[in-house]
Symmetry: C2
Subunit: 429 residues, 2 copies
């Protein structure tokens, strides 16, 4: 049997007999001819049927053998004639919406309820090709810098990072929790491998039904030791984001074209503004005066993003030095100005995309930080163990994959960039 | 400031001034000289201290600047002299066992209880460098074949695959479960991407305390459409395993040397024996007669592995055609012999390493398979949706990462190849 060709190969196979396989994407009956549009993982192919042949219904899985001929009007300039069609699998019912419409003719809840079939729509599938390419870019960047990939527990005995928003689990009769992040593990593993990364699920029992939150999302975590301060982490993050954008362009070009997505240009140096300066800027240039506030409001993040685009031509902006009061206990304070921190947010197209920074690394500093927050070190015995054992200055960040993809695509709801979202109400498919 | 060099770079930097950074691995006081052995992610470096200098205690994190000189007796033939030592982080206590002993002077429970520090021992760290390299090999193999990486839900609404051994979770007041495998999702996504893979955690509420089972492990899942039968899946698995071994050799050579690990040679074609033939062989050549049994006993797997090594010179053996009675409902039967299945196990060094096979792909076949097992299709509405929508012949496999690493290392307990194992009793660190 001839080995299988893909739809995208046809233009290079003119004059040859090939075997395609895929789904009947669409039947098109014209006056004198009937077309079968075949869909496979590479794209679409036009098959010309003889008049007598009744094409199989949409979403039938078929093999089609035939002769490739040039036709400037066909997609890619080639089509298949003299086809012999063999069904491999028949659908028992038709999709809830036509998968062959150029735009998706369904609202988000319908798409999500019917995800296993709906995702076959080329425009929906394309989103996840971009996401997968981005992850490959994240990996190749950190891999090239000697980072070791780890797989850490998703079931933890104590809810260290935040008591709220954790999912409880019955662990052989004992209470346990789903991990909200690999924070403890990645810091501990800096003591082992110096540079670690993880791509994995994190869980938040987010009780609000918003367009930005999921109960499970994919976190791209990196952590590295022997840094000078948070600027080394920012530099790594810049290279990582650039690697993600480059990989999307290289590996998912067709998907980007189909969705008419403009990838961001990542400047060699992403502009950075200190939190206090950011507040000054807003006070000077807008009607509002946020000085003294411990955090930035969403409207301020949007304004700062627009300012960075205007002033620096950059879709990205680092805001550094966030007040310690709003950062987790493990955050490293700003030397000489301990109200502020060696942490940062990366804003992208108006929203926070990544949070990161330098962490405390001295055991005594952890004890002091916990005492200051009125917390007992006994609750943090596991967390503190690596620091008691000697740790280098270190820091890291976590990129939310779905959030990155949503920003790149301009999707307004994070569920659009999640294959099978989990939220307050959705637990299937 | 001079940029940081790694211990492994010293032999190429003789005559230069460099800056190292890492942990004080060991202090060695000889009569006339004191050595400080520095450990970083690349290995060990010997630093020669002047007599007056008191070296920092083990596990202190330090920067050491100095001059590289040749010394045939030093590790790598080079050492650092005229050192200036700057402490970056002091340990608050010493490790429970000496990390500089050539072999690990502690039993497994001690290692696991103190994992964040214990894993710093070069022999323990090496295990996970081999594991990480293997995952990179898995990825590069399937990536090169057009597989799309996916991230699927770990929280599911129904325990489809098996009612037992699932962890229950309180999902906003509703019952839910931790996913035992991405089986449903990867099959559904064959309908979208044709070829998918996932590297992620799976969860088993394994109520037995064995050396082979974990409550969470890392599953390397692959699934592909448009196969002829299970032999296409076996061929992919062969290439994947070869890719994992090759990547371990290329990327973790130092770790393999340190542990004196002999990687398996993966034959171009892994020998395969049908389940019924396997039973015949055992009946003919041993005292036992397993014919008629629906599964292979561990002793039979060991015997077959030895037989494959003896007869075929292969450490790997496929056993195909396992009886349908012992396989999940989605397993494709053997055409013309429906007591058996188009499924396989891959045996490696006496144990089952991978299970895989061809799946049912026709909706009507699923309905019949469920009816035969007395199960109602209503409980499988989500599972069945992609098949109702038209699916190609497909199949796949799942490799347990920790099991692979344990077999490669000759580790007798799966916990030895898990950074932070979760089992019946262990929920921290």
């Amino acid at each position: 049997m001839i080995s299988r060709s893909l739809a995208a190969d046809l233009p290079t196979r003119i004059g040859e007999r090939v075997r395609l396989a895929g789904w009947v994407h669409r039947r098109r009956r014209l006056k004198s001819v009937t077309f079968l549009i075949l869909r496979d993982r590479s794209g679409l192919a036009q098959v010309v049927l003889s008049e007598a042949v009744e094409p199989p219904t949409e979403e039938t899985v078929v093999e089609v053998s035939g002769l490739v001929v040039a036709n400037p009007k066909a997609p890619g300039g080639a089509e298949l004639v003299e086809p012999v069609i063999t069904p491999l699998g028949e659908p028992a019912r038709q999709p809830v919406f036509d998968l062959y419409r150029p735009t998706v003719p369904a609202a988000l809840p319908t798409i999500l309820d019917n995800a296993p079939i709906a995702l076959r729509h080329p425009r929906l599938r394309a989103r996840f090709e971009i996401a997968a390419a981005s992850v490959a870019g994240f990996r190749s960047t950190v891999d090239g810098l000697g980072f070791v990939e780890t797989h850490t527990p998703k079931i933890v005995g104590s809810a260290t990072e935040s008591g709220a928003n954790v999912f409880g689990i019955d662990y052989f009769g004992r209470p346990a929790y789903l991990a909200q992040s690999p924070q403890f593990f990645k810091q501990a593993l800096v003591g082992v491998f110096e540079r670690v990364y993880e791509v994995g699920p994190v869980f938040r029992a987010e009780p609000h039904d918003t367009t930005r939150h999921l109960a499970q999302y994919t976190s791209l975590d990196a952590e590295l030791g022997f840094i000078s301060d948070h600027r080394d982490v920012m530099s790594l993050l810049r290279d990582t984001i650039a690697g993600m954008a480059d990989a999307a362009a290289e590996r998912a070009g067709g998907a980007l074209d189909l969705l008419a997505v403009q990838l961001p240009v990542v400047p060699r140096e992403i502009p950075a503004v200190h939190f206090a300066e950011a507040q000054e800027l807003i006070a000077r240039h807008t009607e509002e005066d946020p000085r003294g506030e411990p955090d930035l409001a969403p409207a301020h993040e949007r304004w700062l993003s627009e300012w960075a685009l205007r002033e620096h031509g950059s879709e990205f902006l680092f805001v550094t030095g966030y007040p310690m009061a709003k950062r987790p206990f493990y955050t490293h304070p700003e030397p000489g100005n301990p109200r502020y921190s060696n942490s940062f947010d990366l804003l992208f197209r108006g929203l926070e995309l990544v949070t990161g920074g330098q962490r405390l690394h001295r055991y005594s500093d952890y004890l002091a930080a916990l005492a200051e927050r009125g917390e007992s070190p006994e609750s943090y015995v596991d967390y503190l163990a690596p620091f008691a054992g000697g740790m280098p200055p270190h820091g890291g960040f976590a990129i939310g994959l779905e959030r990155w993809t949503a920003r790149v695509l301009g999707a307004s709801n994070i569920r659009e960039t999640t294959l099978f979202p989990r939220d307050l109400t959705r637990l299937s498919p």
